[in-house]
Amino acid sequence: MRSWSVLAILAAIACHPASSKPTTAPAKSQEIAAAPKVALERGAPAAQGEPAPMLVVMKEELARAKAALGKGDEPPPYFMSYRVTELDSVEIAASYGALELSTSDRARVLDVEVRVGDHQFDNHHWRHRAMPGWGVGSRTAGLSGHRIPVEDEPAALAIELWSATDATYRGAVAELAAAKTQQQLSAKAKDDSPDFSKEQAVRAIEPRVTLEIDRAAWEPKVRAWSAAFRKHPELQQTEVRLVAQATNRYFASTEGTELQGGRTHVRLMISATAKAEDGMDLAHAETIDVPVAGELPGDAEVIARIDALAKVLGQLREAPVAEPFSGPALLEGRAAAVYFHEVFGHRVEGHRQEDAHEGQTFADKVGTAVMPSFLHVYDDPTIARIDGTFLNGHYRHDDEGVPAMRTELVKDGEFVGFLMSRTPTKGFAQSNGHGRGQPGFGLVARQGNLVVAPEVGMPEKALTDKLRELVVEQGKPYGLRFVEISGGVTNTSRYMAQAFQVAPIIVFRVYPDGREELVRGVTLEGTPLSSLSKIVAASDRYGVFNGYCGAESGIVPVSAASPSLVLSQIEVARAPAAQDRPPLLPPPTVTETSTKGGGR
């Protein structure tokens, strides 16, 4: 019934930044230490397991299709793959001490890929290019997810594979014919990259993962946690939500790639909304991401976090509204990570460089400086934990069956590469294992774990001092400290992804004398990308953002990690004011302090 917001997806992909001008690196003063120390834990390949019945059926049907298709006067497929995503999930939500939702779900989704033509020109040709006369390439043409049985009943599964393959093959043949016709109308493109890269076949059969969570045992916990909000009747909607999932993926292609494996993820979300006296809506959410439920914090810590969140919202209600401002800012680790994910990460997804509809921000930037020279940026999905923190963007093979690789994006401030799927772009012929998508969506290059790695970092305290120095230097009344850039209180879907919006939630004015003042209603403005060139210092500690990111290939799990950053200039505007009045009546008084729960 619930769905993620389309707006959130737009926010993630629809920015059109101007070009950026790099500044020089900061002079190494004595307070700057060496590169921030960071402990990276990589996901070890699991032991080889037995192919599950699902994979066996996939291989058999793939072989049957390969042998049968293209025997007559129709073109044979040069590539076919099956991807089956099996999702087991439990979701429990409670508000004010009563359960709102408690469900378990199991679903299998089949995605079939059939390519006819050849690697240079195939039926996908126009999916990632602007089609002459149409303006926009049609990536969603790849939408092909089929719900198939969750039971290992070979005949019932085989018929689904057969019928989806037949339909996809028919579509591919028609699409290739149309693509060739279209090609005759098209002027020569400046990039004549092939449509599909050639990659090594991979075989990795890992044991399936299982969802180990006892709903009956977690319901009372979630219920009790949510009751902590009863102490805060001034808040409007409040919720505690636990989402646990085990995702197993099976992949087989006619190139010989065979994959089986999975991941588990447990997320606890605490969220609340409030309304300021002037009508402004305020929302704040906190998420805790761990691989298994056993790693969740205890009752005392969860309740402390709820109280802290309620306290911040209470303070935000009273806080002054931000004024339009241009000046120095400090982005704390997690906020900086979110910022990089949004303003940088999406623009270095390779397929965007070829689509004339896109900003193509970095299309011609390879080898040029885009950031100060003390910054490196890479994306490495093979990292499972950073400084002990779980990374949601970890995986070992992407959804096209290509091994995930550490991909350098910015080195010494220079832009050096793109995130690549098997769709090549000018100068980048191979995938680096970033072809990803939600089941049912066409695949494109997406971020996994984006890491901002400065060469030098200073203690957090010194970074605040640096901000105050800049305030004085620039003659500004104050600078801004961004603690939380977040969103997504309301955006949950059946697949439990939480879409993301760039919305600063917790922002302080920092005055030269060290005084701090919380403000509300801040929106980031101007040309965010140009601010990347205005990064002047970094801290020595990493902050991590774990989330689910929505774009044209749907919602995928992602992470970003960054130390806190100081920017010499950032622009903010006042958030559009809400007009609706606060509730006319005071909140009802809480009459019963404890909840028994369970009944209807």
Binding site: I148, P149, V150, Y169, R170, Q237, L584, L585, T591
Partner: protein, 541 residues
Amino acid sequence: MIPLLFTLALAAAPDTAQDPVLRAMTDELARTKSLKLPDSPAPYFASTTVVDVDQVVVAASLGALVDSTTNENRIVSPMVRVGDFQVDAIGFPMTFEPPLVAYEDDYDALRKVLWLLTDSAYKNAALGHRHRKNERQQTTADPDEADAFTPHTGTVALAAGATPSLDRARFEALAKQGSAVFREFEHIQSGTVEVLASTTLRRMVSSDGDAISGRAQLVRIQIRARAQAQDGEMLGHSAMLFGELDEFDDAEVIAAARKVAEELTALRSAPVIEDYAGPVLYEGEAAGRWLSDSLVPHLSAGLRWGPEFENRMGQLVLPRGVSIVDDPQRSEQGGQRLVGTMKIDDEGEEAQRVELVKDGKLVGLLASRTPSKKVKTSNGHARAGLPGMPPQAGITNLIVQSSKGLSDAALEKKLLELVRKRGAEFGLIVRATEGAHRPSVAVRVGKDGKKELVRVGFVQNVEPRTLREIVALGKTPVASHHLLVGGNPTGWHLPAEYAPFAAPASIVAPSILVGELEMHRGKGGNPKPPAYPKPPMPAKR
């Protein structure tokens, strides 16, 4: 100006005290009278509806489970009216979709939700009321304008007992057993059985003093199959069963699936009738399904469907001899069970038997508390709608009879007479139809009386004036069962999310012979047969 009517019936107090949900609803409703924006009056009426839903959705394909989920939900829908009984505006909360609220019985959690939603509903009503006022200042008054709402004395009627529980394992078995049938049929490419089972507990309190609760349960089984015809056309065929929780056993679902499979297999080689204009005989249940779209929407008072029927009160709308009543008090007719039975409607009014058509003439319409020009008072036919929709009048048990009914043989004879009169080669009998528009099992009858299964198109003319094309009715009444949302027949496909808001209704009607209907099929080429053969499909385990 009508004085504010906030007189919560004292009789409700002892009962509601037992139930934290009713208590929260009543307590928060009592505060509604204090809602007041500076330039708008306080509400003159408010009601709160809370629907508790337990749902199981199970789907299986060819004997294997595809989906099996359970949901417990509580849907909260306050409604506020600002203005007076003559001119008012209705307000609902401004939410994109029903907000997720706690389903457990917690007084404080529910009051908090009601506080915010009722606030939003009042603000919308106040805004609407100001617009109405402005609008009326700009336009001339309609002397015949119907009132906005009718007064009512509070009803207290609380359901006893407990909500039955849903046996998910049983529904899984039904879906698997039913869909496994399709494995036996060589040409069937996909075959699914989807079971939706739900129980609901609906509570309503109003500022008129209503405190009502009622339980309902529903199982809907949809059976669907797909095959490619010999000429390449992709054919879908389906059946829908619905009734109460324990109504279906494996054998019944298996038999229904087998019927779908057999009919679909027969349709593969059935000839196609591209375009048809001529007489159509609706037999058995198909007659009720055709009426559910062609007649039922026009039987409710109010302007929802235009004044088509309202303006024809006292006039002939059906052939002489036809009588129609809607009788919510009956639970059986001629040995057939009726599912629309109710004592009080969703606005707390006593549900009355209403004469609608007498000897072919329109004599009455179904009404809720929302009056129309011709029908000034409720006759207890309000049926709750989706959240954010006021209740609307709708049918319960609609009984159609004809004093001049013909035997089956005489009806067929009459059909052939019409065929000959037109100089046509054949007529059509529709034996199953998905709503009025999509006949799914149709037979052509040649001048010589020879019958043959055919593939036909969509019915084009399903309008109230088509009812005047009815030539004759049969003798034997057959009950068909339907789901209504907000008084409207939902047709064949009701999404699972809407099922909790659907009210069951029965139509009892004999076969109906319509003088002329038009059917057309979409033009275009058919897909090729599969590029390679279907995998082998051994019988299940």
